[in-house]
């Protein structure tokens, strides 16, 4: 903040607190002896010190009564005032990464990788961090296994025990959801379609189930009273199907 302030007002942070003798001179240089009761003025400075550095304004009578007046910052300097993403032509990357919703899980980034890759790596010791913390022994060359060495890989016949079959378990895919979406337009009740994706509304539906049962019962009663071919029940059945 102070840097901004000083830039705007033609001063830099390199200066010490006001009143100190080093104010009138470049930082890091010992101040020359100055008579007491004399205010350091830019006009009184030796010319070589006044010219030093790009920031300090040239000394002269014109600067009075101001001293330590600095040059204004160059206007074309690249600052946070400009949109840096646009400046570095990163709009495409920005739109690509932030424009669409990125799926949270690692399996959506590496869909062809077998196994449960969405679990934290620390659970089964497969984390990349552990590779950095405890780097494996490198430097040995890989050589193919000869006949004698391959005898060590003779396996027993039969399936693997249950605990070692994790590799073939794939994370559940959301194909079934797509199916539901395709079915929705055929649904005879359009007001039900948008609520399927909302879990809260789903819950509500389930909560409403007893009410619907009551309604069904009422309709059944009406059916019995008036006409047995009343279509009321058939209209409610797709709703229950859409819940499944």
């Amino acid at each position: 903040m102070t840097e901004m302030f000083s830039n705007l007002f033609g001063q830099t942070e390199a200066q010490g607190p006001p009143g100190s003798s080093s104010l009138a001179f470049g930082p890091g240089k010992p101040p020359p002896p100055m008579p007491q009761n004399q205010v350091p003025m830019a006009g009184q400075m030796p010319p070589q010190l006044g010219d030093e550095g790009p920031v300090l304004r040239k000394p002269g009578v014109m600067n009075e009564p101001f001293y330590l007046l600095r040059e204004l910052p160059v206007g074309n300097e690249l600052t946070g005032n400009t949109n840096l993403i646009t400046h570095y032509n990163l709009e495409h990357s920005y739109n690509k990464s932030c424009g669409k919703k990125v799926k949270e899980k690692l399996s959506s980034f590496l869909p062809d990788l077998p196994g449960m890759i969405d679990c934290p790596g620390t659970q089964d010791g497969s984390s990349l961090r552990s590779l950095i913390d405890k780097p494996p022994v490198c430097g040995n060359s890989f050589s193919p296994l000869t006949g004698a060495l391959l005898t060590g890989f003779r396996l027993h016949t039969g399936p693997l025990p249950e605990q070692y079959r994790l590799m073939h378990i794939q994370p559940p895919k959301k194909k079934s959801k797509h199916k539901h979406k395709h079915n929705r337009p055929q649904d005879p009740l359009p007001q039900e379609t948008p609520s399927d994706s909302d879990p809260k509304k789903k819950k509500k539906k389930r909560d409403d189930d007893p009410d619907r049962k009551k309604k069904k019962k009422d309709k059944k009663k009406k059916k019995n009273r008036h006409s047995p071919d009343h279509p009321g029940l058939t209209g409610s059945q797709p709703n229950s199907n859409s819940l499944r």
Binding site: M1, M4, F9, K103, D112, M167
Partner: protein, 134 residues
Amino acid sequence: MAEKFDNLEEHLEKFEENIRQLGIIVSDFQPSSQAVLNQKLNFMISGLQDIEKCRQQLHEINVPLEVFEYIDQGRNPQLYTKECLERALARNEQVKGKIDTMTKFKSLLISELSKVFPEEMSKYKAIRSEDAPS
């Protein structure tokens, strides 16, 4: 640059596919599968050799450590890129806001100082008008 990555990606995919097939063979092992298993094991070794060769081409590549954290947590590493860009934009906007505020503050301060120190400020403005780019 992209060729290097494509090459590594291709080798990794081949290696991963070979491992997957190995897993299938091993999951329900039959005596007749021993020859195939031996072949797959040697494929695995040649795959590792190929990946090892790719290492030399990718010495200059720097990967942020935070990406590893994302992967270790089972999260999509594209989220890291997304969050980085969003953070950069937010910070950019913050700095722009500060600059705008300071600019407003400057003009306000000048106007107020002009009321209290009119002579000095007229001199100051005269000096600054000289500095101002035409």
